[in-house]
């Protein structure tokens, strides 16, 4: 080169050598790549930890105050029977509502992390392409993204559960705490197929808004969350049957207050959530690979 800037000579030449050979880094990446990405995902979350914590703490507080105590006054006064609990007992509206709220919170977080975040990774900030040029594989990036959001989901459902305890909304805490995980499953069972879908979007021409309006909202409202699913006419009751939110909520109710239902039904709820999560994850990994390494 003919002309070097005068001060350039003052800069040191790169001296530090990597302690690992390329084949060693590749071997590590093959084994732990998804964890590396998840680790980074969680670090990045610090960038918006205010939002995460505010949503995780504020939402339960407001819903429990509004629906759990306010609306409950109206409902408990009007419906004399209450909601069926274990062994013929009945429970209050607040207890009935609790597991639904925890699962709903997971659904909402998941609907965010598997749509806008994914568009950001592929298009707006292209954050998936950086790691994709490293030894990580595209599938590992997808899996790492899932692990990272599972962390946020657990944070959300865990905090929500503590609020339920605080409001005295869990009659059987010895099994009730498991709803933290059944709610996580609601998030994943809904989120994984959505992740697979978002990974195919080249551009957001409003598809994600449509998902929000025509998938997330109906699932939220028609999944037996605020009232038993049987209160709805058959014409819309099927929404609940296919909704991960309903299956997770029913599981949570069994765990929280012994909501009476046949054991086979409980098994079906769990199986449905697991299958949906697994199929979604496989599709998501495939779509990530197609997009990033086609």
């Amino acid at each position: 080169m003919n002309k070097l800037p005068a001060e350039a000579a003052a800069h040191p030449v790169l001296g530090l050598r990597s302690p690992l050979t390329p084949s060693q880094t590749a071997a590590r990446a093959r084994r732990f790549g998804a964890f590396y990405y998840a680790d980074m995902w969680i670090r990045r979350m610090r960038g918006y930890q205010g939002t995460v914590l505010m949503t995780a703490v504020g939402t339960p507080l407001i819903y429990l105050l509004g629906m759990g105590t306010g609306l409950a006054v109206l409902i408990d006064a009007n419906s004399d029977a209450g909601f069926p609990g274990s062994n013929g007992s009945t429970v209050s509206y607040l207890v009935f509502l609790g597991p639904a709220l925890v699962a709903t919170a997971a659904l909402m977080v998941s609907s965010e992390e598997n749509t806008w975040t994914v568009m950001g990774g592929f298009k707006w900030h292209r954050t998936y392409y950086g790691p994709n040029a490293s030894p990580l594989s595209s599938g590992q990036i997808a899996s790492g993204h899932v692990m990272g959001q599972a962390f946020r989901l657990l944070l959300t459902t865990g905090i929500y559960y503590l609020f339920l305890l605080l409001f005295g909304a869990v009659p059987q805490p010895e099994t009730g705490w498991l709803m933290v995980f059944t709610a996580l499953l609601a998030g994943l069972a809904f989120g994984m197929p959505l992740l697979a879908f978002s990974a195919t979007l080249k551009e957001d021409r409003g598809q994600l808004t449509m998902v929000q309006r025509f998938v997330v909202m109906p699932l939220f409202l028609f999944s037996g969350t605020f009232f038993p699913l049987d209160n709805l006419p058959l014409g819309v009751r099927w929404i609940g049957w296919i909704s991960p939110l309903w299956h997770s909520t029913e599981l949570g109710r069994v765990l929280s207050y012994g909501h009476p239902e046949p054991a086979a039904m409980t098994a079906l709820h769990l199986a449905y959530l697991l299958v949906l999560s697994a199929v979604g994850l496989v599709l998501a990994r495939r779509n990530f690979t197609r997009r990033l390494a086609g």
Binding site: A8, H11, P12, V13, R17, A26, G130, A133, S134, S137
Partner: protein
């Protein structure tokens, strides 16, 4: 961890070339982006792919980078097939993509640390390495800054710093200076030149001839997915162009009509929409011949031949439209 052994045995090859491509092809449906190109890059060389937008440069880079599966031909990076040994190949490389994809949720220094984690590198190495790289990229005072507060040139330098976090022997640079102002480009070229001096193999694509001339020991001229010519910048110019070029402008309407009156001057004539080029070993003499014929161009310029002229000669088109 004391010893890491891969479950699969990665073939150890002692090839003379760090990169070797034979009939490399990539098609998307009916469209062939890269159409059977072959080249070899020895270690320490600075190798360029020069061509216009859409020539297939970026696609080639993605295949070398192990993030795009080739449709045909053979490719080996450090003796490894990227289709099979993606992670191993990428572990050898530093990659500077065409579009910056820095992590805007992380601060400048954290971008380097986070990226190093993808290689499974320990903190004890990454911390001092990040500082060294920030110094190298002249970003030490920006270590704690937000990425979105950086200028275009700074982002580019940070991307280069990031690509060096794993201490790679091969650096892939896709259009490294596109969109930067002249000063930012010169700073960047200086940094790349230093890497070259340190023995790093540079593979870069560009559609700037000055960049190719500054940085490349050897280059291939690519157009429509195929190699048009190969050689050092000087050899390419010698082979495909004359020593000097006279650029004449007669005004948009007259360039074509005047061209016929210029026949016989110099070795060759190119008529472009905005100017006429005369290729001659002695430019001044050619210009005198033009005025001798009573022609009065609005502007005239005698310059040395460049890769732009090589490209024009090979494809009949200008490199930068």
């Amino acid at each position: 961890m004391s010893q890491i052994t891969s479950t699969k045995t990665v073939p150890e090859t002692r090839s003379d070339f760090v990169i070797s491509a034979r009939n490399l092809t990539k098609s998307y449906g009916d469209f062939t982006a890269v159409n059977g190109i072959s080249f070899d890059v020895p270690p320490g060389e600075s190798f360029g792919l020069l061509g216009p937008n859409g020539a297939g440069k970026s696609t080639t880079m993605k295949m070398i980078g192990g993030v795009s599966q080739r449709s045909g031909g053979e490719l080996s990076i450090m003796g490894l097939d990227p289709n099979r040994y993606g992670p191993e190949v990428r572990a050898h490389l530093g990659v500077v993509p065409q579009q910056d994809n820095l992590d805007e949720d992380l601060r400048v220094r954290d971008n380097l640390l986070a990226y190093g984690r993808y290689f499974g590198l320990p903190k004890s190495y990454l911390q001092p390495k990040a500082d060294e790289l920030l110094e190298f990229a002249q970003l030490a005072d920006k270590a704690k800054a937000r990425v979105d507060s950086l200028s275009g040139g700074m982002k580019r330098r940070l991307t280069i710093a990031r690509s060096l976090i794993n201490d790679p022997k091969i650096l892939l640079l896709d259009e490294p200076t596109t969109g930067l102002d002249p000063q930012a480009r010169h700073i960047l070229w200086d940094r790349l030149f230093r890497l070259k001096e340190a023995g790093v193999t540079l593979i870069l694509t560009t559609h700037y001839m000055d960049e190719a001339e500054q940085l490349c020991d050897r280059l291939i001229v690519v157009d429509k997915g195929a190699i048009m010519a190969e050689g050092s910048p000087a050899a390419l110019i010698r082979e495909h162009s004359t020593r000097e070029v006279v650029e004449l402008r007669f005004g948009s309407d007259r360039n074509t009509t005047v061209a016929s009156e210029l026949e016989g001057i110099g070795e060759r004539l190119e008529t472009l929409p905005d100017r006429v080029l005369i290729y001659a070993d002695d430019g001044e003499a050619a210009l005198e011949a033009v005025t001798g014929r009573g022609l009065r161009p609005i502007t005239s310029l005698v310059r040395r031949s460049s890769l732009e002229d090589v490209f024009l000669r090979l494809t009949g088109r200008s490199l930068v439209e």
